[in-house]
């Protein structure tokens, strides 16, 4: 049964077309954005630098390796002051509009920026710890605020030497397909395309009556369909991430930085980081494994939702749009500035954030659960486990109750 359900899922032509387009986009973006700065004119480079900080460059030509020998690892007082000094010099040069920078100088400039930045982050981290400590000293030690501050502080204490310069460029992009939000869009498009027909098509093709009248047509069939759907997701998910992995590996010419602390992870478009105050003491490879696992779980959770919608709505198109609306809702809410009160919770604990992953670990976020601070990602996982269990139960239940009356 499973085999034939798999056949149904994998013989839909449009999934191949879309998959191919997705890969093409990934390659295109990779080629165009990563090597961008290598061929950039001087004034463009300056503009980009001012706009976003040190821009994206690859590590291919060994320039960064050399710089790493000198600047790499956790920052020290010496490195910071030296970097600041050198940056000022180059800045003066740029302002005077004097001769253009060589690629080596550009790279050095970036590294100086990163080191100086890391110094700032180190300071922010210390300040954060101090403010937490003073909160702990001030508030009642039975209060929630106390427990929360204490939890965050103890997590931050676990971090050591997290800020600095690491050869880590290849890694940022590996977490996302193109970009965090894009990975949600690409993955969910493929999931919706592949899975909205699973139940709905039995209805529209008028095969439901035949199926429901068979021995296993009301029970085991659902299991077979679920297994086939999960297989599909496994294939889509792993092939997209494999493509992404090799794209970045090749473009950046290496996997250095796998053991760097995540606090130095840059965002996709520049050397800036969003993880400066992240309380998670993970190396990049650990975080990569965690991100992918969570994203995969999110895809699985989404799959069950899509399957349920497919069964209830009985129409592939409607199922596609309703599922799409559920995923996109938090995005729309935020655009409409609906991010307060109940909406804040809806947006935070959404399939969107679950699949996007990157907001879960950037900073310490905890919620008050019966007076105890529980980390946001943990609650999110918990909620989706419960929700998905309900959805699965409901799917089996409703399918068994289905009638064919027209």
């Amino acid at each position: 049964m499973y085999r034939h359900e798999l056949f149904k899922v994998f013989t839909r032509k449009n999934i191949y077309i879309v998959f191919f387009l997705v890969v093409l986009t990934m390659v295109y973006i990779d080629k165009n954005y990563i090597s961008q700065t290598e061929t950039m004119e001087e004034d463009e480079y300056v503009e980009l630098f001012e706009e976003r900080g040190a821009p994206v460059t690859t590590m291919k030509n060994g320039v960064y390796e050399k710089l790493f020998d000198e600047w790499g690892g956790p920052v020290t007082e010496d490195k910071i002051s030296l970097a600041t000094e050198k940056m000022q010099k180059i800045d003066e040069k740029l302002v005077e509009g004097t001769p253009s920078l060589t690629p080596e100088e550009k790279a050095a400039h970036n590294v100086h920026f990163i080191v100086a930045n890391a110094g700032q982050h180190e300071i922010s981290l210390q300040e954060r710890k101090e403010s937490l400590q003073s909160k702990i000293d001030d508030v009642d030690d039975q209060s929630y605020a106390y427990k929360e501050a204490e939890k965050e502080l103890s997590m931050l204490e676990q971090l050591d030497d997290t800020h600095g310069f690491y050869l880590i460029r290849a890694w940022r992009g590996m977490f996302d397909l193109i970009e965090p939000f894009m990975s949600v869009i690409l993955l969910s498009t493929l999931i919706l395309l592949g899975l909205t027909p699973v139940f709905a098509e039995e209805h529209s093709q008028r095969t439901l009556g035949l199926i429901l009248a068979t021995k296993h047509g009301k029970g085991k069939l659902v299991t077979a369909k679920i297994m086939a759907s999960l297989t599909y997701i496994g294939v889509v998910f792993s092939s997209l991430h494999l493509v992404n992995f090799f794209l970045h590996w090749l473009s950046y010419g290496g996997l250095q930085g796998w053991n760097a602390p995540i606090q130095s992870l840059p965002i996709s478009t520049s050397f800036n980081t969003l993880y400066e105050l992240s309380p998670f003491a993970w190396d990049v490879w650990q975080y990569y494994a965690i991100t992918l696992s969570i994203q995969f779980l999110a895809c699985v959770a989404l799959a069950f939702l899509v399957l349920l919608i497919s069964m209830l709505v009985k129409n592939v198109m409607f199922a596609f749009f309703i599922s799409g609306a559920v995923i996109g809702a938090p995005f729309m809410f935020r655009i409409l500035s609906l991010d307060q009160g109940i909406f804040k919770y809806i947006n935070s604990f959404s399939y969107l954030e679950f699949m996007k992953v990157d907001n879960l670990f950037q900073e310490f976020i905890a919620y008050n659960v019966f007076g105890y601070p529980v980390l946001y990602p943990l609650i999110l996982l918990f909620i989706f486990v419960i929700l998905t269990a309900l959805i699965v139960f409901f799917t089996y239940n409703r399918f068994r109750q289905q009638q064919v009356n027209e």
């Binding site: 009556g209 035949l210 009248a213 009638q403 064919v404």
Partner: protein, 292 residues
């Protein structure tokens, strides 16, 4: 084996598609006869466990089929009146899929699939995609699917619609062959389908069972009520307005009309031998489809 339909109704909004239908069925072929909209399909869906009765219950050997669930469907074969098939499946794949849905062991299924393909004369098309099948071939594949698990209860809703005369005869023979130790419940408009094979005929009119008896008995009831008369073109409309008309046939001496009426309808009418078609006409007030 005893299938008891006990006061079963199906209500859609405020329309009764089936109204307090009761019948007891044992091994043999039962024909459900009724005009369009009589509720045949609705009743069969409830027997196939894909639709819930609004009232009443269906019992197999005193067990409620809705409680038997998978066990009931295990011995069920069902061919809906209208159904779809997976266009990009081949006939063999389709049947293998249904074999697994019916819980057949895979090794056993491989042989069984060939067997049913042969029964419905599709062996040479076994590797073709269903999307390229004709309407009649699809229906035959549907029949094959219903037979896969050697069902003890076979429910077929207008199984011969769209089949050519040869295949129809083939199917009729198939049914009478297998009916010995199972309950076959079949609906049709085509009286010749059941003429020789039905153990009993159930007449359904507007959701209600109006008659249930053997073919012989039904024929007995219309005996002496079937007439043939030669009329002219001019009086034909008047005749049609007044009486239930069966066949109308032109011949050298005018137009020969078959009339079903309790008394002699007109002077020159002669009594003729009754057929099942006349029975249909007599009870349903409407011409049966003349076919084959």
């Amino acid at each position: 084996m005893r299938l008891l339909i006990d006061n079963v109704s199906k209500k859609f909004k405020d329309k009764w598609a089936i109204k307090y239908f009761s019948a007891e069925l044992t091994e043999g072929v039962y024909a459900l006869l009724g005009p369009n909209g009589a509720g045949k399909t609705t009743l069969m869906r409830m027997l196939a466990d894909i639709s819930m009765p609004s009232t009443g219950r269906i019992l197999l050997n005193d067990k409620d089929i809705s409680l038997m669930g998978d066990d009931y469907r295990d011995i069920l074969g069902y061919l809906p009146q209208e159904f779809g098939l997976y266009k990009n499946f081949t006939a063999v794949r389709f049947l293998m899929y249904f074999a697994s849905l019916k819980g057949l062991d895979k090794k056993f299924a491989i042989d069984k699939v060939e067997e049913v393909l042969d029964l419905v004369n599709l062996t040479k098309d076994r590797k073709r995609k269903i999307g390229t099948f004709s309407g009649g071939m699809k229906r035959r594949l549907g029949i094959a699917q219903a037979l896969l698990n050697d069902p003890k209860i076979l429910i077929v809703d207008e199984p011969t619609a769209g089949l050519d005369p040869q295949e129809r005869i083939r199917f009729r023979n198939l049914l009478s062959e297998i009916a010995g130790d199972r309950i076959v419940f079949l609906s049709t408009h085509i009286v010749s389908d059941i003429e020789y094979i039905a153990k009993e005929v159930l007449l359904l009119k507007q959701g209600e069972l109006i008659q249930r008896s053997t073919l012989g008995n039904l024929l007995e009831q219309v005996k002496g009520k079937v007439w043939s008369v030669n009329v002219t073109q001019a009086v034909l409309p008047e005749i049609q307005r007044q009486f239930k008309i069966g066949n109308i046939q032109r011949n050298e001496s005018g137009i020969e009309c078959r009339i079903v009426h309790d008394e002699k309808p007109v002077e020159n009418a002669v009594a003729v031998h009754a057929t099942l078609e006349d029975v249909y006409l007599y009870f349903f007030d409407k011409g049966a489809i003349k076919d084959v």
